[in-house]
């Protein structure tokens, strides 16, 4: 847009006369009120959006493994992922429309203000959404037609393109919501929207951290929902072949979810740091203010995720010949995880009134205060990550017999790496009690680096040690106790609820501002509710989402049933052939 001084003056004069920042207007919504209506619409839309953005990422990876690894079962898996995507897509759009209409009718002042700044990106959003939809249709419905050779590569390219459109759509929507959190410093309450520079508002301080965090979280979420879907299909399977397929699918979903979850805290750290950099008061409100208890709830939920994810793996070892030799270790891993959760969920600096301070005998609880500090928490969570990685490693090695002559030495080196990493984590954890806070914060970096280096080193060694490994026997896919599948449901519910909780935290730290320190919320719902109230709303959102997902998947399965009853021999490998190819496929 060409800007001339005269044009700018005219714009300024017009904008000043049109400024709508100070007095937003509101519509009304019958019980439970406008805020909850918008909250539910936004949250359910976000659940679906996360699913339809996360699933294409691993669908396209699974298809690539199928193409380049020449393994048709991955291709089938990718197609099944995409089918789930297809049926969820319209629900995403419907809830997006509900959210938009809700904003227009219930929060017209805010909507008008945002639209005046972001109108160009809204049109681009619609265009990209259009492209994304049609790319998805081509990707799914062209699966069988473009099945071989160069056509298959072109089909895979469509999958990549689908991810590009989806990610771009998410980035645009993220700019709108992050602007509400972190508007540029030059935007003041009396700045007319037309005077706000578009790119400055678009690429605001928390935009990229949210983009990164959401991309990873979407993969976690998609993996968990796919895992739950597979668990349901497993439990209701009528044939061994179906059961074997969905057992394997559940395993892949869980591996994706837990694997990406391990990376997610680093993205969260990046986001938190940017929030502090943008506005320290907002950061303190988030971590130590009225939101501080949310992190205790988060620790509890992540503890459940670690426990359920590991439990699923440990139970799964029962179907792997050769895994018996690792089973005695699981109880010790369980001890580490439980202790880790207890430490991580210990409250530290909470808002306390004078009576509570007196009751504690000081600013910290005499016993819990020692465990509640970051030194202890960082140590706990890093040891939990190491333990979960060990579970994956044992699972991966369970049915393999090494043949390389230096295997024993290699395993001892791997053990030494584990011990060294744990020792570094513990050392800095204890040392952290004897240094100042600013030094202590730096220790968390050493702890994380020790864990990441250990994961990288051990995996590299493991690939080399397992070269040419013999099998103790094929994994008995499908021979999984039903209780393991309920762990997958718990994972999905917990991920979904956790996403709702973190959404509440992110949005709630704006407190009584629609746009932080620019546009006040002057409605009757301006106060931010306590966690108990938020928990009820989040639970309702999860119930609505899972109910709809269940219905959508059931509808999708209606069309598929005849195929499953009469499987095509070339597209559905027999149990025997799957077993033959499965041993090293984990």
């Amino acid at each position: 847009m060409a800007l001339t001084p005269a044009g700018l003056l005219a714009q300024a004069a017009e904008a000043a006369s049109q400024s709508t920042v100070s007095i937003p207007s509101y519509g009304s919504f019958p019980a439970p009120g406008s805020r909850v209506a918008i909250w539910v619409a936004a949250q359910v839309h976000l659940f679906f959006a996360a699913f339809v953005l996360g699933v294409p990422m691993f669908a396209v990876v699974a298809e690539a493994i199928g193409i380049f690894g020449n393994d048709s079962k991955y291709d089938k898996l990718a197609k099944e992922f995409t089918r789930l995507l297809l049926v969820s897509y319209s629900a995403t759009a419907i809830w997006g429309a509900i959210l938009s209409f809700g904003l227009i009718t219930l929060y017209p002042g805010l909507w008008n203000y945002l639209a005046r700044i972001f109108a160009p990106s809204m049109w681009v959003y619609v265009g990209l959404f259009f492209f994304e939809s049609f790319t998805l249709y081509l990707y799914y419905y062209g699966w069988e037609r473009w099945h071989d050779g160069r056509a298959k590569l072109m089909h895979w390219s469509l999958g990549i393109l689908l991810n590009v459109w989806g990610t771009a759509v998410m980035f645009i929507a993220n700019s709108w919501l992050t602007f509400m959190m972190s508007p540029p410093a030059e935007v003041m309450p009396d700045t007319a929207p037309e005077m706000v520079r578009f790119w400055s508002a678009f690429a605001n301080a928390t935009w990229m951290p949210i983009n990164v965090h959401r991309m990873i979280a979407n993969v976690v979420f998609g993996g968990a929902i796919v895992g739950a879907y597979a668990a349901y299909r497993f439990l209701t399977s009528k044939t061994d072949e179906e059961r074997a397929h969905y057992d394997w699918m559940g395993y892949v979903g869980n591996m994706i979810a837990i694997g990406a979850l391990i990376v997610l805290p680093f993205a969260g750290y990046y986001l938190g740091r940017e929030i502090y950099e943008y506005n320290q008061q907002m950061g303190i409100t988030m971590m130590g203010g009225f939101m501080s208890w949310a992190w205790i709830i988060q620790a509890f939920l992540i503890g459940v995720l670690f426990l359920a994810g590991n439990y699923y793996l440990w139970v799964g070892m029962g179907r792997i010949p050769g895994a018996e030799r690792y089973m005695p270790y699981t109880k010790w891993m369980l001890v580490v995880l439980v202790l880790g959760v207890i430490v991580w969920a210990t409250p530290h600096t909470m808002i306390a009134n004078r009576d509570e301070l007196a009751a504690m005998g000081g600013t910290h609880h005499p016993f819990l205060g020692v465990l509640g500090v970051m030194s202890a928490k960082n140590t706990a969570v890093n040891l939990m990550i190491l333990t979960t990685f060990l579970s994956f490693l044992l699972y991966r090695r369970a049915n393999k017999r090494t043949v390389v002559p230096w295997a024993r030495t290699g395993t001892m080196i791997q053990t030494a790496i584990f011990v060294l990493a744990a020792a570094i984590v513990l050392f800095y954890g204890v040392y952290g009690y004897f240094v100042t806070a600013i030094v202590r914060i730096g220790f968390s970096v050493y702890q994380v680096l020790a864990v990441l280096a250990a994961i990288g080193g051990v995996v590299t060694l493991d690939i080399m040690i397992m070269r040419g490994a013999e099998s103790y026997g094929a994994i008995r896919w499908g021979q999984m106790p039903p209780r393991s599948q309920y762990a997958l449901f718990i994972l999905a519910v917990t991920f979904t609820w956790l996403m709702g909780l973190m959404g509440f935290v992110r949005s709630g730290i704006r407190q009584h501002w629609h746009i932080w320190e620019v546009m006040r919320d002057t409605s009757e719902f301006a106060a931010t509710p306590p966690l108990g109230y938020a928990a009820q709303v989040i639970s309702w959102c999860v119930v609505i989402f899972l109910g709809l997902v269940g219905f959508i998947f059931w509808v999708g399965s209606l069309a598929e049933k005849p195929i499953m009853s009469h499987p095509r021999q070339d597209s559905l490998p027999s149990t025997d052939s799957r077993l033959a190819s499965a041993p090293t496929g984990n």
Partner: protein, 266 residues
Amino acid sequence: MWQTNLKILLVVLGTLGLYTWVASAIPQVASEVPEELTFSDDVTADDLVMAGEQLFTGAGTCTACHGTGTRAPNLLTDHAGEGTIGQRCGTRVSGLDCKAYLQTSLAEPAAFVVEGFAEMVFQARAFSDAQIWSLVAFMQSQGGEVTVTSDDMERADDAAATSAPAEPSGGSPVAASQTTDARVLLQENLCLGCHAIDGAGPPLGPNFDDIGGARTADQIRRGILDPNVDAAPGFDAMLGMMPATFGQSLSAIQLEAIVTFLAARK
């Protein structure tokens, strides 16, 4: 089949119920909207203290830092053997009584930083004068004598109305007039509504990022005090836009702080 579905339903609802119960069982803290306060001439110390306490423990979110003992000095309990805030506020800075010390600390968080702590994170501009004075009264009440009266608020109102410079007694407007931090001043005086800084902002006036290279300190000072005499190169069309009131609204120290800051940006 229905048994499986029932089990799944129970697991899902049970998990949701557990999380909802845990979140409801912990202490429930909401973030209230700071109430607009208006006090009559005969407002009592108790009224002020009560309003201040509500703000301190509620919407002001003061307890997020004051009370933990790690982020900020304890105010309601002893700190460093000096007693509660009401007991120690009068002796913190030589020549400043308790009321002036507390009010200045709120208006200018960088003015008197307690040793061992960072500058207070407090957005004074988000609070009204009445709210700030009620906070001062509440803190005085913690072991000291409440000396805040309606006169303090009237003085603040008068000062705000005339945009007068700060008074040493502490009865000045809160957010805009006392600080000598150039960046804060640029923001409070809405300079950044027209001038870009740090690569961001509208291009209605000369960019602050390199203004020191193009203009001398004298030229910058003259440009602030009498902005409509000479236009900066390339901004002839903007002549007349910038208010010519900063000579009255800024103190000499504040003006020099801005001039020094801008002249150094080359």
